[in-house]
Symmetry: D2
Subunit: 329 residues, 4 copies
């Protein structure tokens, strides 16, 4: 039984809390948040303690930490957990700055503290099956990868300003998928983007529509397409094409209902957003974090995976700005 300290009582924190409580191998002992009321509320919901942030790591009755606080606090928390010798499962990203991200990761390494990152898509059952089929040789040698990722609606411009930009905030998930499914590091990144959805996003110096092309050393190619708006739900699809075939994962829907009429056959839009699409993934990644602490080999992203995805996002940003493809060593 792994006892958890939960850092962050916001939307994602609440999901993790529920999964910790309901999991057969985990329990929630305490929760903390900069907003004391949010912490108290969540603690009350699951009958655990609410603690102040600066007292959180002084607790002794927990085995692991789940960090789901705001992005700008991740690195600090990781370093404090490292100092306390507590294994960490941290929501992505480590940090928006590659230097700071690397630094906190190194501290966890130096302390011998396991550090995993919440790239939850690795635990989506459909994407996990893609990975499995590729590894099993179902499509022969993987040649090209095609990732589509579109949010249902753009975030507030205020959020966009603090987000680090589309590549670091949104596409970073797809960049992790690319590395994970390709099983290799891209050596080149080419990126293009526009503000087609919301001119305010453009005015804030960011983009809302983007395409990226990646290339591996052995010549395999990957396309990624992002949009901050999608009228038919949360569009999350991947297609992996190989010498002997193709595996693809389509969107998920709430039901299997079709309505037929003069207009033709209509099936449901994609699930609305990540809370619905990745509900299973949030639960399964937590199970594997517990498994990892018990020595199981897992697909969880590590701190290093987080750092490498951020490197790709930075390269994409540089390619967008400079207009040229960026080589990665």
């Amino acid at each position: 039984m792994i006892r958890f300290l939960l850092i962050g009582a916001g939307r994602i924190g609440r999901i993790h809390a529920e999964n910790i409580v309901r999991g057969a191998g985990s329990s929630l002992v305490a929760v903390t948040d900069a907003d004391a009321r949010a912490a108290a509320e969540l603690a009350s919901r699951w009958s655990c303690r609410a603690v102040k942030p600066d007292e959180a790591l002084a607790q002794t009755d927990f085995d692991a930490v789940l960090i789901a606080s705001s992005t700008d606090t991740h690195a600090d928390w990781i370093e404090r957990c490292a100092a306390a010798g507590k294994p960490v499962f941290c929501e992505k990203p480590l940090d928006l700055d590659i230097g700071r991200a690397t630094q906190c990761m190194r501290k966890a390494e130096a302390a011998g503290v396991p550090l995993y990152l919440g790239f939850n898509r690795r635990y989506d059952p459909s994407f996990a099956r893609l990975k499995h089929e590729i590894a099993a040789g179902t499509i022969g040698s993987l040649e090209t990868l095609h990732i589509t990722s579109r949010d249902p609606a753009p975030p507030p411009v205020d959020y966009v300003r603090r987000s680090g930009g589309l590549f670091r905030d949104m596409m970073i998930h797809d960049l992790d998928m690319a590395r994970w499914l390709l099983g290799a590091e891209p050596v080149e990144v080419f990126a293009r983007g526009s503000a087609l959805v919301d001119p305010e996003i453009g005015a804030a110096g960011d983009i809302d529509t983007a395409m990226v092309m990646l290339r591996t050393a052995d010549g395999r190619l990957c396309q990624i397409a992002n949009s901050r708006r999608c009228s038919f739900g949360y569009d999350q699809r991947i297609e992996a094409f190989g010498a002997a075939g193709m595996v693809s994962a389509n969107n998920h829907t709430a039901t299997s209902v079709t309505v037929a009429g003069k207009q033709g056959y209509t099936t449901e839009p994609a699930l609305p957003f990540f809370l619905e699409r990745y509900a299973d993934a949030y639960r399964l990644e937590l199970e594997d974090f517990i498994g990892a602490l018990n020595g199981k080999k897992v697909e969880l992203a590590t701190g290093e995976d987080g750092r490498r995805a951020l490197l790709l996002a930075d390269a994409a940003q540089r390619s967008l700005t400079t207009g040229v493809a960026v080589a990665l060593s």
Copy 2:
């Protein structure tokens, strides 16, 4: 090269004319119709002779006859072709009356004249593949069959009155499919029907919505569902279920386009009606008729197939009227 005399210059006759002309192994030498102008027009379109009905069989430069005239003339034409020693491909049915149907069929047999019936669905590429997969053992032993057949809109009540009723006019195609795919004769027919689409059809003594259940001697079961109206096109589907799996044929559409939006994903309705859905079937059945004349083994329905389908339709009608299941020897 098989030279054809075409009897009937209506909607179906015109389809057959075009297929005869375009086929590599056939030519059209003459066409006749009770309506001399229709015959003349069709003859002019394809540069062949228009002849009067009573002089049609006096021609000598043709090898086979295609009968696509009105239903009540089929039996007479078959008997005249039998007398003239000319092979016949006749649109379904032989006749609406089982006695008359049997009689004309016997005359063709006695004259040694090949007689085939236009149960065109046997040549629909999707249904033909069902037959092939069942024969190939793909689904193991066939256990149940499920046939859905819905017209886009009810015919005029005037047509309904002369049609012989839904079972003889419409479901007879499905009854042929059932016999053909089951590979066995049903020994029991149970039928129910209602006039739900158009009360005028009910007032005319017919039904527009029907279900039939068939059973074979070895206990296999078949469901048929018919409606005279369908808002999403011509609904033509079959599902064959067996010990090791299922094969099913879905509707056909004009394009492979999907429109995604707030409403979900919308694909096209089924093709509008039989001219579109069975365009390939009309062409392929004609090819096989020519093949049959050249000794090829074919899936074409014979006169006997037409007689047996009519027996089933009669039994369905009797079951509907009497309320009990009808046994067939």
Copy 3:
């Protein structure tokens, strides 16, 4: 907060236990089972009391009873709960005997005790949406209903012998779906069945393949097809056809993955069996039971619904035996 006594610690009991514990509005206080060890194990899993069957209703700290014991004990437990004045949610059926089923239901009525039956399919999100669309008028007036229900594999013959037969054990779910979706009582039942899957089932006097046709007073028709074996998973589909369109619910799958290769495009088989397909339904029906106790209008089947579904199953059995359609008043 509704406090539950759970009767039955078997496979279904364990599902309900988990849903009771995890539900926001419910808690599990005690569990009982003829097998004391099973009760103790489940009680230990969820930190509640295990009690002996004959002492179960002597407890006072619970508000409702969930009956998930073996079928032959349902009626007794219902009567005991009625005497104790405790609301009941009972797994289907009330009893295999219509007389006994009616009797226990009447006792609950007389005692003013709410009695609901676990026809869980009403809470499958896909079937629930069918009901919703029909009620919303999406397909205009409902004309025909088509229900397919196939188990992945036949149960042991020993189970078959005690089951009451396919109609009362398996098709009763589909008969409830038919009544619920038609929104009317069938006035006629015609049934046919065979032992095509397992001759042992036939030797035991039962069937494993069945078709039923239902008719309502206003002439609407319904087909049901059952098989005790299906190679591609748990085949649970419904199609509702109306004047203005059709709504259908297809099978559910574990992922949205497609594998494309020389063979074509392959998607996943249906979910394996009811535990997977109806996991959501088990959870949602319990929520509505709690809602019902709080005065919410719900879609839960009542004791009377259970009695009427059993009447239809009995009629189907009689039709199979006698060969004629059975009229229902």
Copy 4:
């Protein structure tokens, strides 16, 4: 009635011959080919004259020319037709060299001779419906375009050597689709490619796997993916994504059959290659060529469209070679 001279009796020439003969508004008067026997055979099949290449344009009884000869002869034939004042429908491309292509096009312009190019995909019913939906505003403002185009198997290396390379030989079709569907000229081309399918193709200086990214002046983006090998048939898909939705065209299949079994649900692979997938397109583009000669507004690609597609292919080739994105004015 438009009377045709057909230049080229190869695979594509034979398709056009059949469509000319079967079309209601066209007839075939003569055919020529460098291979006199091929010309004679085709002429015999359709009862028209076979003529020698250098005498072909001396004929006077034709109204238009269809050029389906080898690529390196297109420009010459176009110039000769221009001199003879005969309208031309020419298979793509004008020429592999942009200078020569421009030159012959200018001569046709100067002579006032209509010149259309066989970018047949514009007449694929599915892609044509995409164009229609975009124009109709179904998806709001078009933002991104995603084109997948994979051949079933690589051509002989010998062909590859003479082909002008993947961009000019294969992707040029997709580049035309991009221009046509975007309704705007790309201002930037970025291309990457590898020889992953056949090392011989790499040894010949070409690639067999490619990705291209296009950008328009207003920031819209387009991805194109090509492969010379695809295990599941001829993979021809397009997805157009806009502010209000998405329209996509999927592959076409020979039948609507699904096989269900332990493996799941299997539908057919894509149609084998262009002759099957674009059979309708070949017929429809010819109808529109005839329509264009009669003054109809058509979607046919013009000589200028051919030139612009070639400019994009040249730019892609340059981007591949230099490693940088190529700007187009």
